[in-house]
Symmetry: C2
């Protein structure tokens, strides 16, 4: 049951509680386990991977089964329907088109004063993509992570995903990986997969950037290896915040809230509206649509714990509360969504108008569905091509150009107590 809140202080406290829902003392203890797994993989390589796959996934693999074979990859195409393959291909085309826009380009500027400055962008050599198994084995996850790496120009895209029963993998995931340009796939999950990607094993190459969602063990492992490799973000459970006015359709709003809640018992679904009547209708409609929901237990749990409908005086207040929450997904189901946009400061993705349910962006609109959660939209953004690239600054001074600034450099170096910094300039000045 979606609770209705009309009082501002209570609403603020509730949004705060929901935002902080994954801050958990138990994390520290799990971290010790994860640290152990990582060290075992560093020391024992593939042997540790097989050990943990048996222990955590209940699958006994031979070393040569770690890498997914070509015949298995071919076979996956026979196991997905024509409609699904077409849908994956449509999504691929649109996601790729969006990510091809504004890809950073190298530039060099020749100044009038014999100074050359620039930035040179290059892709990373190898990227690692983690794809969860079980409840969250989604082909869309593969597309959203592999495509930006491909567009960045990464020559080697390595994917890890845990084996399901009988060592199998989701065929739609395998097809999406091939369509998106993944170069190799390994049948391993959890913290052990992250460790393998960060440090390498005889079978799995180490990579330089690891992206992709995962459970708390995967997330903790990503945090621990960050610094040895780059990572995309520390993703938490998903969330949607819908701002709706009286012209919104409560049936649609309810479906959008449930589309978030059905992901995870920790998912959050928030409605903010100036229309108390709409709030009531949405609450009723959520119950209605839950009645026959195939994932009812899980979805109901999310709605009960992290679902709320907040009634406010105006859309301005709705925007203010939304900014405080900094949602991963923000839907503006209001008459004039573009008018409210300037007041929105923090949101991972913004869905404007009544005909743009979040599902459009989840699958195929083009923008990335890997988005900052738990308030991270205050400082972070969607996964992008830039995550798979880095740049080198370029600097060239002529002898004359150096001469001009030598005095200032020497003064600064002396002030910082770094004599050889000053010398490196002074000696060159004398040479002229």
């Amino acid at each position: 049951m979606l609770r209705i809140i009309t009082e501002r202080t209570e609403a603020r406290a509730e949004l705060r509680r929901i935002c902080d829902r994954t801050h958990d003392e138990r994390v520290v203890h799990k971290e010790a386990t994860v640290r152990e797994v990582i060290q075992a993989v560093q020391r024992q390589g593939d042997r540790a991977l097989l050990h943990y796959t048996s222990e955590f996934d209940g699958q006994t693999l031979k070393p040569e089964e770690l890498r997914v074979s070509g015949s298995e990859l071919d076979a996956a195409y026979q196991q997905v329907s024509k409609e699904l393959l077409d849908a994956i291909r449509l999504a691929k085309v649109q996601v790729e088109a969006f990510h091809r826009q504004r890809v950073p380009k190298s530039w060099v500027q020749f100044g009038e004063n014999e100074v050359v400055l620039g930035k040179r962008y290059t892709p990373v050599d190898r990227a690692g993509l983690y794809v969860p198994g079980g409840r969250a084995a989604y082909p869309s996850t593969v597309l959203m992570n592999a495509i930006p790496a491909k567009v960045a120009g990464v020559p080697r895209i390595v994917m890890c995903t845990p084996p399901g029963p009988d060592k199998t993998l989701n065929p739609a995931v395998l097809v999406a990986a091939q369509e998106a340009g993944v170069t190799e796939i390994y049948r391993v999950g959890g913290a052990q997969a992250i460790a393998a990607l960060a440090y390498g094993t005889p079978t799995i190459p180490n990579v330089h950037v690891i992206t992709g969602p995962g459970n708390i063990y995967v997330t903790l492992a990503k945090k621990l290896v960050y610094g040895t490799v780059g990572i995309d973000s520390l993703a938490g459970p998903s969330e949607v915040l819908v701002i709706a006015d009286s012209q919104a359709n409560p049936v649609h709003v309810a479906a959008d809230l449930l589309a978030q809640a059905e992901h995870d018992p920790l998912a959050a679904a928030i409605l903010i509206t100036p229309d108390g009547n709409l709030a009531k209708q949405v609450v009723a409609e959520v119950e209605n649509q839950l009645a026959e929901h195939p994932r009812r237990t899980l979805t109901e749990k999310a709605i009960a714990h992290y679902g709320v409908a907040i009634v406010v005086e105006s859309l301005e207040v709705a925007a203010e509360l939304s900014n405080e929450f900094a949602p991963e997904h923000l839907e503006l189901e209001i008459a004039e969504p573009w008018d409210l946009l300037p007041q929105i400061r923090h949101a991972g993705a913004i869905f404007l108008g009544n005909s743009t349910p979040e599902a459009v962006g989840d699958y195929l609109a083009g923008p990335n569905h890997t988005l900052p959660t738990s308030g991270a939209a205050r400082y972070a953004s969607a996964l992008s091509v830039e995550v798979f690239m880095k740049h080198s600054s370029l600097i060239q001074y002529s002898p004359k150009a150096l001469q001009k600034v030598a005095g200032a450099i020497e003064v600064l170096a002396q002030a910082e107590g770094l004599p050889s910094h000053a010398e490196s300039v002074r000696l060159r000045r004398e040479n002229l």
Copy 2:
């Protein structure tokens, strides 16, 4: 004494050892201390800050002394020379000009098919800048961190730096902060400052991005609070790799190597050259310049432990070894530096030619001097304006546009077992 290595396998092993010089088992134990400091600041706020400042910095502050006063800020201008103020202002102008180039801009694209897509860039609300005290209290650090935040449009830039003897702060640091647009300065350092910036205290506001270098405690604290806030990177000790050919001046090369070594006993200074004779001359010249070096003990230590001159067959091999090391700073003191550039894959900043010592980039060429260390240039880049901005994806579909892709979305949602995702589209389709 700079060692000369001519054997390839030995060179590789040595570069590997130098790259890994900060990987240290003791870090785990320090992390427990840092975790404790962070928790104390979260629980006790300013009281914990005063406690740790007394314990770690030996300075007993009153709560109202945490914030640096206006009169203290004014007084700093009286304590720096006219030459230093001019040099700081020249550096500011040039660094700002470079960072103003290619600042990400919001864009919206109206597709022919009633689809609107875009990216909206906004600055973070508040940024926190850490500036170390003691040996590394550098005005250039302030400029390099505050200017990109200012250019990004961050309205509130908060700086923390530990108090020196008699609670004083380095006047050049205070002047640089004011010139660069820092809005408030707090007299607190170490892990406690990072905790204050991440979680806020009654005196210090919480921020959304923390940047700036620091000792191992500061770096560990940044890693721990990452996820609650954004951070720039986990900086290690500095390093330079010089590729030089026979036309390079050994006196200049030696000065450049020492300009790195004088930073820190953990700093690394590497020469790679195809000219064995040059290597010998540089070794002799390093000894020569060390004889009277004001920071001789520290600098000698760095050279002895992490200094090396590698003689190779060709510039191509030099580039290959450089790529394996992925240096923070790369100097190309060779006849045709632009010709070698395409072979360089990983480097934080590249200094081309004989008249571009690293010191030019450290102070005033324009590009940021906060660069990836310890091999992080494989995936990371210089601190940039982007670190202080984030973007929201924008998506708007018309009813007709949604209609067109509804089938594909439903197929994908069904394949992923997410019925409400499909419903959120199907219900809207029926409405048409």
